[in-house]
Symmetry: C2
Subunit: 109 residues, 2 copies
């Protein structure tokens, strides 16, 4: 199969999972961290910074773009990427509310 049954879950559950999935690769975490640190970044710099081939970085950037967490502006022959602040805040809020639910001591373990 290999196909997630999204229809049996809530929108919230699917949303959290979708964003988490995008965060679920170290290259994409590294890209986001670098974009935050450098503020804005040319794609080629990411290829140098992270040790993966250009098509691979491009593919990871595409996935991050798909969830709207980054955006790219064409500057001549290069593309400048940066974090979408509104989306970043939205995601932060979503994760905080998910993670801030405090599990209390359970009866069995």
């Amino acid at each position: 199969m290999g196909l997630t049954k999204t229809e049996i879950f809530t929108d919230q559950q699917n949303n959290i999972a979708q964003i988490a999935k995008a965060f679920g690769h170290p290259a994409r975490v590294a890209i986001l961290q670098h974009l935050i640190k450098i503020n804005a970044c040319i794609c080629g710099d990411l290829v140098d910074e992270i040790g993966l081939a250009q098509p691979t970085i491009s593919q990871h950037l595409k996935e991050l773009k798909n969830i709207g967490i980054i955006q790219g502006n064409i500057e001549g022959t290069s593309v400048c990427y940066c974090i979408n602040q509104d989306k970043w805040t939205e995601i932060k809020t979503m994760f905080m509310s998910f993670l801030s639910q405090e599990p209390t001591n359970s009866s069995c373990c």
Copy 2:
């Protein structure tokens, strides 16, 4: 290929990605939410609660157990699962510090 090059990333990046990957499926998000809500939960209840087959739930539980975020206690013929509070707190801290980095306005986009 299909094989992540973990060796070129920092431990922090790999850790975030590993946890995010575990959160990257709505069934696992649903399991965690249910465990938090109900406080502790028999595996069979999760099969009823979520609409997936028993082996599928068992597999998702295994993945959550692998990252240490849940633990199970045998109670007769059934297994009672619950959140590992220490790990939950650790993960919360990790994600908060990742997400709390505020991206500033960039020059290009």
